[in-house]
């Protein structure tokens, strides 16, 4: 038998292929030039910038049947992930030296995880989603455990692996149920079959939907699937924590958004309220538990749970306005969260990681620049104008109100006010309390660049948000 075989168009997956090549080259470079560690980060920065430019110019296309979709929506999210990679690389140089984990695998694994994210983002088929998701997750499990001699990192890595495996199993089970009911794993195909066969209320289908949703919620760290977040954020190397809080989260949201609107566009009135509950629960858990944290990384971990809740406010509407609100918010969140982590990394020194909140006492006096930047990022995370965080939150609230979720929005703003308490607490330590401690900071060029990019992003988007918002509005899935 002769099966006709034609090679699918490879143009649309060019960025991913380049990234894979680069990931392999990095390991080789590390072997060939073991003394030149800075070469690795320089290569990653150049590659990332090149890819971002390339993505901006990429034309929408579909390849591998309908399994791999390159549309403006995918490009938007891929650029967030690459941005996260770029910022993390800029932050890493100094930190890796301090923690003695400066090795080729570090960058290589990050690149592989980004390939996974980009695959997820472009996936038009649940199997491809799973493929990308696992590539991303496996790389990150390793990255989390990179501090081999730190028991926290080991615990984090193992915990993340076990919980991640569990959530993947849920996801796979959900996918198999959906496949069983509809006979396809193609997102658009599922929607079409559901409509034709009129099985939208079928219990097996709903179970499948719920399981897939749980799997994605695990990835974005939304309550009640958030239990892994604090320990893993705390144990992982800080650079990886900052990376995880931005890139995989964005990828998770991208795939969740695509899944909801492509596979189940007709039942928004059913999944809308469910996601509203998940969003509110995330805000409640994140913001309230963050109040009692004593460690900056844990506090930011809980804050990231809360921010996942805010970002869900846009998705749950199922409207174009809501989607572009979530998309803009993830961008803004990348800037402000990366900025906050950059300050944490800046203060980290050999033998003293300065992760406790009380370690920030008196920072404003000895190190006014770092304190001012942290102040800006924290106010942005709180959502106080004129920072970008306010614009993002405003857009989300507006979209959710327009879709009729008035009470959800009212509760969301109350949780948002609660969040002010713990962000303010760090500001209080920095500005209002004195402590006789010396801060040793090394302003490496990478950290300076990362801090400058975040600060300019947070203030710039706060005052002139037009460009970002318009770009997000143009980058929607065609409804």
């Amino acid at each position: 038998m002769n099966i006709p075989f034609t090679l699918p168009a490879l143009g649309p997956i060019m960025p991913e292929m380049l990234l894979v090549c680069m990931a392999i080259i990095l390991v080789a470079v590390d072997l060939l030039f073991p003394r030149k560690k800075e070469l690795l980060s320089q290569l990653v920065v150049l590659t990332t910038i090149g890819l971002i430019v390339m993505l901006f110019k990429q034309t929408p296309a579909v390849t591998f049947g309908t399994m791999f979709i390159v549309d403006p929506y995918a490009i938007f999210f891929k650029i967030i992930c690459l941005f996260g990679l770029l910022m993390t690389t800029l932050l890493s140089g100094q930190y890796l030296k301090i923690e003695k984990i400066n090795q080729g695998e570090y960058y290589s694994l990050m690149l592989f995880s980004v390939v996974g994210m980009m695959t997820m983002i472009s996936a038009g088929d649940l199997i491809v989603v799973y493929l990308g998701l696992e590539l991303m997750a496996l790389s990150i499990y390793c990255l989390v455990g990179l501090l081999k001699n730190d028991w926290r990192a080991n615990e984090a890595s193992l915990k993340y692996f076990l919980m991640g495996a569990f959530s993947s199993a849920l996801l796979l089970f959900g996918i198999s149920l959906l496949y069983g009911m509809t006979g396809t794993t193609d997102l658009a195909g599922i929607a079409q079959y559901c409509l034709e066969a009129d099985i939208l209320t079928n219990p097996a289908l709903l179970t499948g939907f719920a399981l897939v949703l749980s799997g994605f919620c695990f990835k974005v760290g939304a309550a009640p699937f958030h239990f892994w977040t604090p320990d893993i954020y705390h144990g992982a190397p800080t650079t990886i924590t900052s990376f995880m809080s931005v890139a995989p989260k964005a990828a998770g949201f991208a795939v969740l958004g695509r899944f909801l609107i492509m596979a189940f566009p007709e039942s928004q009135d059913q999944w809308g309220p469910i996601i509203a509950i998940i969003a509110l629960l995330s805000m409640a858990v994140g913001n309230i538990i963050a109040i009692s944290q004593q460690n900056v990384k844990r506090m930011l971990a809980y804050s990231s749970i809360a921010h996942a809740g805010y970002a869900l406010l846009g998705l749950l509407t199922g409207t174009s306005d809501g989607y572009s609100a979530t998309m803009s918010y993830l961008y803004i969140y990348a800037f402000m969260n990366m900025g906050a982590f950059a300050v944490v990394i800046l203060l980290c020194t050999k033998g003293h990681r300065r992760e406790s909140l009380t370690d920030y006492k008196g920072l404003a006096k000895s190190n006014p620049g770092a304190a001012l930047l942290m102040l800006i990022f924290l106010f942005s995370l709180t959502g106080i104008p004129p920072t970008a965080g306010f614009i993002g939150k405003f857009y989300l609230l507006k979209a959710a109100l327009a879709a009729g979720y008035t009470w959800t929005v009212i509760l969301a703003v109350i949780f948002s006010a609660i969040s002010a308490y713990f962000y303010l607490r760090l500001i209080r330590y920095m500005y209002m309390e004195e402590a006789p401690q010396q801060f040793v900071t090394h302003y490496s060029p990478g950290i300076i660049a990362a801090l400058a990019i975040s600060a300019i992003g947070v203030i710039g988007i706060g005052i002139f948000p037009g460009t970002l918002l318009n770009w997000a509005a143009r980058s929607l899935i065609v409804f």
């Binding site: 404003a364 006096k365 006014p368 106010f379 106080i384 104008p385 004129p386 306010f390 405003f394 609230l397 507006k398 109100l401 327009a402 008035t406 929005v409 009212i410 703003v413 109350i414 948002s416 006010a417 002010a420 308490y421 303010l424 500001i427 209080r428 500005y431 209002m432 309390e433 948000p465 037009g466 918002l469 318009n470 509005a473």
Partner: protein, 509 residues
């Protein structure tokens, strides 16, 4: 296209703050002088407004309008009318005095202090100029950041608690208002333009919801009973300049919010909520006054007196006729001047004694006679002695509210008596009782401090003797506002009709 004077007013202090931030921190004196020059220049910049303002129209003047975030139809839209112009002038004047009063009392982080103060000034002016609801909200919230730092970094022993409480109270109120603003935006045809929003009519149910959403933000700021509890803490713990700005400007923004947003945009809800608002105001007047009698802390007492005085303001605004509303606005200015002056005075005496307990004082009149005379004047103005500005404001409010609801005026008038009681008693305990030997060698006022008081004294007598000058700025705008709310330029004046308007008061010249 003329000079964008309002933008200049907003961004000049911000620019000044940035320049200050760039100077070295060792040279405290240079920084103070720079801050003083910036605030003086800012005040000079406001003077053209005062003279170029056209009093014969209610239309917005000095308008600047540019598209800002086109996706949401948000504009950079500024303008002034007869209501807001007075607050701009007050803000720039008060800022100068704040710089002066902090001259010696701020010893640490001098540069950061003045940076915060100037940023605060820019945001305050922005609040009063903004004609786009979104823009207004930006300034309204942005103000929180410098104020939080002013209280929390340079305040008294319990400053961190006070600063956090202030921030959280205001934030909760503001966020609820934000939900209201977005709802209004969607109902009002996708615009944040305040004037356009006021021209439309909304269903009563929606109006009531929005009214309470706005109330959450504005009532906290005023502060109205029962959401006033942040104010005593914030006032007490803030540094002198912080207390002055809080008392003179920040808490006026709540009342200004009612005037600019709640009343014209939600007229039916305002009319429906008139009685509850009046009752809340009366509670604030009487309860605030009674609490003053029990205070042992000097600053706390003045803080609670603000609750009582602001009760008069909201009573005036919600009595909805020409006299009461004009009286309310004038009383906002008056309270800014008088309480601002009282806090300045307390700041000066605290700098010398480092105690706020009333019982620690006594007989200061023999040690600081000039100071005692100034303080007496401010005390009397606060009580509302005829000839001072306090009298005009309270008289107009009582007159106006008597015309609509005599019972309200009756209860409010009792607040005046309580006011005289606690203020005179305070004066007695500080200045007349047996001399506390601790203060035998207390320093008298120096020239800088007398200079600080002079503008306040001038304003007290100027408004007190020639109120028409101030009132003439607001006549047309208030008439327009009342027409929007009640359909009648004179407002609600049933009940007793006196047939005289504020312009024809016997006190005018």
């Amino acid at each position: 296209m003329s000079l964008p004077i309002l933008s200049l007013l907003i961004f000049f202090p911000v620019l000044g703050a940035v320049i200050l931030l760039g100077t070295g921190k060792e040279n405290g004196k240079k920084i103070k002088i720079m801050a003083l020059v910036i605030s003086l220049l800012e005040f000079v910049l406001t003077l053209p407004l005062w003279f170029a303002f056209d009093k014969t129209t209610h239309h917005m003047q000095f308008v600047e309008r540019h598209s800002w975030i086109s996706l949401f139809n948000i504009e950079y839209y500024l303008g002034l009318d007869g209501i807001s112009i007075l607050f701009i002038l007050l803000s720039t004047l008060i800022t100068i005095l704040c710089v002066l009063v902090s001259w010696h009392s701020i010893q640490t982080k001098i540069k950061e202090f003045f940076v915060c103060l100037l940023l605060l000034e820019g945001a305050m002016i922005g609040v009063f100029c903004a004609l786009d609801f979104f823009l207004f909200y930006i300034f309204w919230e942005a103000m929180l950041i410098p104020m939080f730092l002013l209280i929390g970094v340079w305040g008294g022993p319990n400053r961190i608690y006070a600063a956090t409480k202030f921030f959280l109270y205001t934030l909760v109120g503001s966020l609820l208002m934000l939900v209201g603003i977005i709802t209004l935006y969607m109902q009002g045809g996708d615009t944040f333009d305040i004037l356009a929003l006021a021209e439309q009519s909304y269903p009563l149910k929606l109006q009531l919801m929005l009214f309470w959403a706005f109330f959450a933000a504005f009532a906290v700021k005023v502060p109205m009973w029962p959401v006033h509890t942040w104010l005593p803490d914030a006032h007490t713990e803030a540094p002198a300049a912080g207390s002055v700005v809080l008392a003179a400007i920040l808490i006026k923004m709540g009342a200004y919010g009612f005037l600019r947003f709640s009343m014209p945009i939600l007229p039916e809800a305002t009319a429906a909520m008139m009685i509850p608002m009046i009752i809340l105001s009366l509670i604030a007047i009487v309860y605030g006054g009674l609490i003053c009698l029990a205070q042992t802390d000097l600053k706390r007492l003045i803080a609670y007196s603000s609750v009582s005085h602001m009760g008069f303001v909201t009573l005036g605004l919600f009595s909805l006729n020409t006299q009461s509303v004009e009286g309310g606005i004038l009383q906002m200015i008056n309270h800014g001047v008088i309480t601002g002056a009282l806090f300045l005075a307390i700041g000066m005496v605290y700098e010398r004694t480092h105690t706020r307990l009333i019982s620690d004082y006594g007989g200061l009149a023999t040690r600081m006679p000039v100071f005692a005379s100034f303080f007496l004047l401010f005390t009397l103005a606060s009580i509302g002695l005829p000839g001072t500005n306090g009298f005009i404001g309270e008289f107009l409010i009582l007159l106006g509210s008597f015309m609509t609801r005599p019972w309200a005026a009756l209860i409010a008038a009792s607040g005046l008596i309580i006011g005289a009681w606690y203020m005179l008693w305070l004066y007695q305990r500080i200045f007349f009782n047996p001399v506390n030997p601790r203060w035998d060698s207390i320093k008298r006022l120096d020239r800088r401090e007398i200079t600080i008081f002079l503008p306040m004294v001038i304003l007290i007598f100027w408004i007190g003797l020639f109120p028409n000058h101030m009132l003439s700025y607001m006549h047309v705008s208030v008439a327009h506002l009342l027409e929007q709310v009640t359909g009648n330029p004179a407002g609600i004046a049933n009940g007793v009709q006196f047939g005289l308007d504020a312009a024809a008061l016997p006190l005018s010249h």
